[in-house]
């Protein structure tokens, strides 16, 4: 019998977010009524955030295997082989709700959390990225949220000394009341020195390390699994405060300890803190665990068992050590001035037993926490077929350069410099290409090898057609990796959606995962880790669906990579993936259409996975052989925007030949997929290679030493002018 006499009722369970069925199931499994601590543990483990109850059915359909995969989903982060006996270990994670409540700390702790997931595996983190979505630029909260989130991301990453090398920021009114803050971390480890979380060896000591436990963020996993309303804003739990300084010490101490031969298993305390770490370690090992909560280093007096188990205080880890390694380990944590406390042991019982104040505070079987976690096949509505938008319907009489000015000067496309200059993007001195290009490129320390990393998603497309949008997120990430000359390896994903209990939202979730899976399988970029963030709604309005893809690729020699800027006058400009006959383009769900005020939803550009694969592979070869000197994938804003972006930060301009018939704006701004703009000094070799590979190619112009963009003979703008518009936008917004 547990000591806590105050037994729970269904009302208590409901307040913790459990349904009637879930409550009944707990009673059945326990064969008695739980106390507060026990119920808290069930509710956390069965929360959407920890159990993936709405998404699991669909996540299982994702491809997770491949010769490059060392560790797929299921551990703290995924791991892929990058050659030389090294593994890239990476994951992305959301901190949407906390960042809306307290943008600086919410974003900072998001970065801290994802870094712990990566170094828990024994990897030294080498790069951070982030995918952000804010409300409309002129919404009253946007400035405050953008400023706070960016400062928070920088605040944590800069201090801990991991470069933030890339990411994305977009604005849309559907995020007015629910921003998205997704952080991705990538680390490196020796392939044969990867640490996992399954507890081993009954009798082995369970050790708590890091910062002390306080009453912060109690039951955060449950908060992340509920919709926002004015009511929840008032009963929200205290947000956690990040401490990057302690985070840095914890990272160094853990990596130092892992280099010795002491650690059997290790798990960070992320969502649901001590609960999820102890439950996951024990259950993955098929064992049990006993913890004396009186030994847990606490920051405050009088914390209850419930509070200790559900606190989400930051910078903490749980480890199982070899029995004779405790002294070695303690010395390391002492050196770094961190708490180190044996708090329990691994058992054979298959139960989680917690002691407090001399009694038993919790004694529950582990199996139901994990195996009986509910899994729902939630109903979906049929996704409506969207019509194709005829280019004529989006017609404007303006010259291309006028549209370029308004598009590049708009928050949708303007320079992100205001954001990324707040991130230390080159600490560790291995950043070869930081923010501002297609994929980031980070050298493997002490070698010529490089990791290419990107995050991508186009919510417009996902909203219009979830399956195509899911595919497109993978395809665009794939293109970004190929565009610098790297070979795509694998992905992580962050599925940001509204309330899955609504059939329309469930359809977005399910169908975009289907699309993502198809693309990942076809492009041989398996999913090795990820995160799901649901209930992104405020007062019943859901966000635009945003299944973010983070992709990692590898390049053998970083000196062979190319950027997206023009590099030399008189080089020829080609479109790879399009032939001379094309004189129109896909404007449905395009940025151009949005800027023409078209609000009806049209079909997004279709994805041809064969074309993506073939074109990407050819481009990587052409970069490796030195044939292609600069490359940029065509995405938001189409061809014209891609060309403009290639000139903006170069010392060159371009002269572009226009099609003589067809729909000029469709051609210039259409967002047809599987295309790149590339430059070369040896046009014939490139055309020949493309023809041989069966890839469409079309010469569209020449790089000029005159810093002007010339579209045909009568439509010209200075690069400087465009650049000023692009650079001025975010600073002006933030200056208010």
């Amino acid at each position: 019998m547990t000591q806590n006499d105050h037994l729970m009722t269904f009302d208590d369970a409901a307040a913790m977010g459990l349904s009637r069925d879930e409550w009944e199931l707990i009673l059945k499994r326990l064969e008695r009524t739980p106390n507060q601590c026990e119920l808290g543990i069930f509710s956390a483990m069965w929360s959407e955030h920890c159990s993936y109850k709405s998404s699991k059915k669909w996540l299982k359909t994702l491809p997770v295997d491949g010769p490059q995969v060392i560790e797929g989903p299921g551990e703290n982060a995924g791991a892929v082989d990058i050659g030389d006996g090294l593994a890239a270990i990476f994951k992305i994670e959301s901190h949407n709700h906390p960042s809306f409540i307290e943008p600086y700390q919410g974003a900072a702790t998001g970065v801290g959390g994802i870094l712990r997931d990566v170094f828990t595996m024994g990897a030294r983190p080498v790069a951070l990225l982030n995918a952000l979505r804010f409300g409309e630029a002129n919404h009253e909260k946007t400035r405050h949220l953008l400023g706070g989130v960016v400062a928070g991301i920088g605040g944590y990453g800069n201090c801990i000394g991991i470069p933030t090398v890339g990411g994305e920021v977009n604005f849309d009114k559907s995020y007015n009341g629910n921003i998205l803050v997704n952080a991705m971390a990538v680390g490196l480890a020796n392939s044969d020195r990867i640490f996992r979380s399954a507890a081993t060896g009954p009798g082995n000591p369970v050790i708590y390390v890091g910062a002390k436990t306080g009453r912060d963020g109690i039951h955060g996993a449950t908060m992340a699994s509920a919709e926002f309303s004015d009511e929840t804003e008032s009963k929200r739990p205290t947000v956690q405060v990040g401490d990057p300084f302690t985070g840095k010490l914890l990272m160094e101490a853990c990596l130092e300890l892992m280099a010795s031969d002491s650690v059997l298993s290790i798990q960070d305390m992320g969502a649901a803190g001590l609960t999820s770490s102890s439950v996951e370690m024990a259950s993955k090992g098929g064992l049990g665990m006993e913890i004396d909560l009186d030994l847990v280093p606490a920051r405050e007096d009088g914390m209850t068992a419930y509070e200790l188990m559900l606190s989400e205080s930051q910078e903490r880890m749980l480890m199982v050590l070899k029995p004779d390694a405790t002294d070695t380990a303690r010395a390391i944590f002492d050196k770094w001035d961190l708490d180190f406390m044996p708090i329990g042991q691994v058992t054979e019982t298959g139960r989680l037993v917690l002691f407090k104040d001399g009694g038993i505070a919790c004694d529950i079987p582990l199996a139901p926490l994990v195996d009986d976690a509910p899994e729902y096949d939630r109903p979906q509505n049929l996704v409506p077929q969207r019509p194709r938008l005829a280019s004529d319907k989006a017609k404007s009489d303006k010259p291309i350069t006028d549209l370029l000015q308004s598009m590049l000067g708009h928050v949708d496309l303007a320079s992100r410099r205001w954001v990324y200059e707040q991130y230390d993007s080159h600490v560790m001195a291995d950043t070869i290409a930081g923010p501002g290009g297609d994929a980031a490129l980070v050298r493997v320390h002490g070698s010529q090898r490089g990791l290419a990393i990107t995050t991508d998603c186009t919510p417009r497309y996902v909203e219009a057609d979830p399956e195509t949008g899911g595919k497109q997120a993978v395809a665009e990430a794939y293109r970004n990796i190929c565009a610098i000359g790297a070979r795509p390896l694998a992905i992580t994903n962050n599925l940001n959606f509204g309330n899955p209990e609504k059939p329309d939202i469930m359809a977005q979730l399910a169908q975009s995962v289907v699309g993502m899976g198809k693309a990942a399988k076809h492009l041989d970029t398996p999913v090795v880790s990820g995160n799901v963030s649901l209930y992104n709604e405020t007062d019943g309005t859901a966000i635009r669906p945003c299944p973010v893809v983070g992709m990692v690729g590898v390049i053998e020699d970083v000196t062979m990579a190319v950027g997206s800027r023009f590099v030399a006058a008189n080089e020829e400009i080609f479109i790879l993936g399009q032939d001379d006959s094309q004189n129109d383009g896909w404007l449905g769900a395009s940025l151009y259409a949005a800027h023409q005020g078209i609000t009806a939803i049209y079909a997004p550009p279709p994805i041809d996975l064969d074309a993506e694969e073939q074109t990407g592979k050819l481009l990587v070869q052409m970069i490796a052989s030195g044939t292609v000197t600069a490359a940029h994938d065509i995405s938001d804003g189409g061809l014209a925007v891609a060309i403009a972006e290639m000139s903006l930060h170069s010392a060159f301009g371009a002269h572009i030949t226009l099609p003589t018939s067809g729909h000029l704006h469709g051609w210039a701004f259409g967002e047809d997929q599987a295309r790149y703009v590339v430059t070369t000094a040896v046009g014939p070799s490139l055309t020949q290679a493309a023809q041989k590979a069966g890839i469409a190619i079309s010469k569209i112009g020449t790089v000029t030493s005159k810093t002007e963009l010339q579209f045909g003979d009568n439509d010209t703008i200075s690069v400087e002018e465009l650049k000023n518009l692009s650079e001025a936008c975010l600073p002006a917004l933030m200056a208010g």
């Binding site: 409540i101 306080g214 912060d216 929200r236 401490d243 300084f245 920051r299 405050e300 930051q314 001035d337």
Partner: protein, 82 residues
């Protein structure tokens, strides 16, 4: 008139800065220091002659901008108030 706003972290909210300072003070030989918490002090020079109204306005400033009530508490001192 002058108003002083003192902003401190709510009880229970981690104060990493305070902890680091406490530890350094200990290392420097100030072993009598048990705990340190760090807050902000904001001095406002305001065109307003009525203390009651001033207090009200400053409270509004605290709620809208100066303090983040999720993690911080604030208190207001009005110099010439009786």
């Amino acid at each position: 008139m002058q108003a002083i706003v003192n902003i401190s972290l709510k009880e229970g909210v981690l104060d990493p800065q305070g902890r680091a300072i406490a530890r350094s003070l200990g290392d420097l030989g100030f072993s009598e220091v048990n705990d340190v918490r760090v807050g902000k002090q904001i001095l406002l020079e305001i065109d307003e002659t009525d203390p009651a109204r001033l207090r009200q306005r400053v409270a509004r400033m605290c709620e809208t901008l100066l303090s983040n009530t999720v993690i911080e508490d604030y208190s207001i001192d009005i110099a010439d108030e009786t």
